[in-house]
Amino acid sequence: MAESKKTVFLANIWKNNPVIVQILGICSALAVTNNLTNTLIMGVGLIFVTAFSSLTISALRRMIPKNVRMMVQVLIIATYVIILDIVLKAYLPSISKALGPYVGLIITNCIIMGRAEAFAQSHGSVLSFLDGVSAGIGYSLVLLAVAFIRELLGFGTVFGVRVMPGGFTPWVIMIMAPSAFFILGAIIWIARTPIVKKK
């Protein structure tokens, strides 16, 4: 096997980052990033779902008939998302309320399906699990970067703690959707420049 655990892990975080390079998971990257706490929970949720669905799909990969492959993948992903939704509702109700419909929408996050199709389908369980975890981390890091800028300028806070001086006027646009487009676009542009050059 050519791919070691380390290369798989690092590729997802930088060279093959799901958001910056593969441009997947953009919808939620725009939607939940006006507040760092929500973003962090969303990231942890995605890491959990991607890791375990990759693990399960990989473990079952020799049994899954090719013609119903995608249906089975969606079934597995949906199961983990519902588990996550129930756990959040039971133990972190305020975050569940803040994330609202976005938890359910993890099902449609292309990163999970993408990792299932591109990786878990053809690799061993342990490696697939690591691949899922690192894809989730790669996604979370980019989202946290966007959320950091948006929360800092939009509310003057970081994780709800005020850091800007008292006279600071919040930039309302940072809380609204358009700012996410600008910031995410800028981050992708800056981060891809060295990656593209290397090629």
Binding site: I64, P65, V68, I83, K89, P93, A177
Partner: protein, 206 residues
Amino acid sequence: MNARLYSVVFTFVLTTIFVLCLAGINALASGTIEKNEQLEFQRSLVYVFNIAEDIDSISDEKILSLYGNRIEEITGDQTVYVVNKDGSKELAFAVQSPGLWGTITALVAFNEGGTKITGIDFVSHSETPGLGGRIDEVLFKEQFRGERISSDPSARVAVVSGQDTDSKEDARVDAITGATRTSESVQILLNKAINSVLPVVREVVE
């Protein structure tokens, strides 16, 4: 085995296993979830009646004790909650009315004479986050405290833009910028509460 049959059987078996897992987890968690929802509703009532010192940092136990000691619940066709404040009563009830995207459920409190709104809280809604969703914000909700109700049945409390709303006697509050339809929905919700529910509720309380 026939490949097509295998696909069907495999999918069927796998689905059954996963559904059973989910049902189990759901059964384990449903008690906690229900308790959370109840607590959330009671917290809302405590906020609407304005009987807690600091609603943001108050503990769950404090909410339960405030709810148990101060708030009286009268069940019937329309459940009414009553609080005694230094001899005068305040009453609250839940109202549902359509918003922009879905139903808005609000708890609204009135003074005993039914002449003033004393508090409002939105229990559930599906308005656009960041626009209509801002009806959840304290700045918006606090405007309603002590606001006099007008005699105009189509605008009991008008949610307006570009007008002076400072006085508590003018039956006007500020709308949310960029959320005209949601602001209108709140006005309609209050009309419904005051025109059709309040008179019935006041009879029940007396």
